[in-house]
Amino acid sequence: MDATSDAGVHCTSCGAISCSGCARALDPPRFCPDCGRRLTVAVTPGGYRAHCRDHGELAHS
């Protein structure tokens, strides 16, 4: 899954359900697409990891 994925119900950039797509190309996901909860995100020089408290690791690169 990448930063602009809209596979889930919630926008991964703002967490809203009704968002029509506010994701920016160079932003990692910040919200869980399944529950809209804010993600714990670690950005490293070569990638990122995004983790939801309820849904586990959701995205990485």
Binding site: L26, P45, G46
Partner: protein
């Protein structure tokens, strides 16, 4: 011959007109423009002296059609003062978000409702892995960054433990950015082998209270002086595009001249959702090239590093920045946002015939 001037512009092209706050720069006599550029060339390449604030203001006022001349001179100045080498660095946000300060541009402030969730200090293995990623990208410098006002004792201990570990594991020079320091903390970092300490002034003294209210410009300057007093290299950056005027950018340049950092990372505002500056527009690409050139002309011997916001601001003009005075870059990702791939940047440097290696400023 007539020229068609109303060709439709594809809808996926972002126009780059002057932005709000960008000054009008009226046309001037071309001979006067050439005279200002020639005087700067003589000062920097023949006399090898720094330009004054007045001289820099005269260059900053040149209209857009002289930006390429400024850029060409800046590139020659960079080669003459610093040589052809480019320093590559990777940075890691080792402790993200939850910062008590209110820097209006920053998504890591706990005072603003931003998408960035506060996370504790990364595990040692995660930091070492990030350093290995940096090493693999061809970098010579690795900066451990923490979103804090200043380091508490527990944070100090973690950093003091990590710096030699990263050095030993990777051979990289290790830089640290952990906010405001006390004299004792600066001494301990220097003793632990911190190669370079990052502490940005960000903007001119006169503009700083518009974007930060929880600490002062003078507090930042004091930390910068502690870094120098204790023998570490000072990395002291700027953030362009927060609403400051041309005059205030020149003011910052003269303040940096006086301070004497080894490195100046040049950031361009990437407006972050939820921050007070989240609604601002990025600096226009051509304006960014102008200011890259002016920073090189104002700070001829520093390591002038491409830093945050360059992808958003410059888009396809990345290589032009490299021939307008830049001689260092952050590769890969930033603290909370992603960058373009290290491979793209390294290919760009190869295409430009710019060798990669560690640098030391000469200002």
């Amino acid at each position: 011959m007539s020229v068609e001037t109303s060709l439709p512009i594809p809808t996926n092209v972002t126009l780059s007109p002057p932005r709000r706050g960008e000054p009008e720069r009226p046309s001037i006599d071309p001979s006067e423009a050439r005279a200002r550029i020639h005087a700067a060339e003589s000062a920097l390449l023949d006399e090898r002296r720094l330009l004054t604030g007045e001289e820099l203001a005269g260059l900053a006022a040149l209209p857009d059609d002289h930006v390429t001349s400024l850029a060409a001179l800046a590139h020659q100045v960079r080669l003459a003062w610093c040589g052809p080498g480019v320093e590559v660095e990777g940075i890691l946000s080792a402790k993200t978000g939850g910062c008590p300060e209110d820097c209006h541009f920053c998504s890591q402030s706990s005072r603003f409702d931003t998408p960035v969730k506060a996370t504790p200090f990364l595990d040692t293995d995660e930091v070492l892995q990030a350093a290995e990623e940096t090493k693999a990208s061809g970098a010579t410098e690795f900066c451990i960054v923490l979103a804090v006002r200043g380091p508490d004792e527990r944070t100090m201990q973690r950093i003091l433990e990590l710096v030699p570990m990263v050095q030993e594991r990777t051979g990289l020079n290790v830089a640290v950015s952990a906010g405001l320091l006390t004299e004792d903390q600066a001494r301990r970092f220097a003793g632990a082998g911190v190669h370079r300490y990052n502490h940005n002034l960000e903007t001119a003294r006169s503009f700083f209270p518009n974007v930060v209210t929880t600490h002062t410009w003078e507090e930042r300057e004091a930390t910068c002086r502690l870094v120098l007093d204790h023998g570490m290299e000072l990395c002291c950056g700027a953030l362009i595009g927060m609403g400051e005027s041309d005059e205030q950018r020149i003011e910052l340049l003269t303040e940096l001249q006086e301070l004497g950092p080894t490195e100046v990372p040049l950031n361009f505002l990437n407006p972050r959702p939820g921050t007070p500056l989240g609604g601002e527009q990025p600096v226009a690409a051509w304006e960014a090239i102008r200011w890259i050139a002016l920073f090189r002309l104002g700070l001829p011997g520093v390591i002038l590093r491409y830093a945050g916001g360059r992808e958003v601001t410059l888009r396809e003009l990345q290589s032009m920045g490299m021939t307008s005075g830049i001689n260092a870059l952050i590769v890969g990702n930033y603290l909370t946002t992603l960058g373009r791939s290290a491979d793209e940047d390294l290919q760009m440097l190869s295409d430009l015939r710019m060798p990669v290696g560690a640098l030391t400023g000469v200002l």
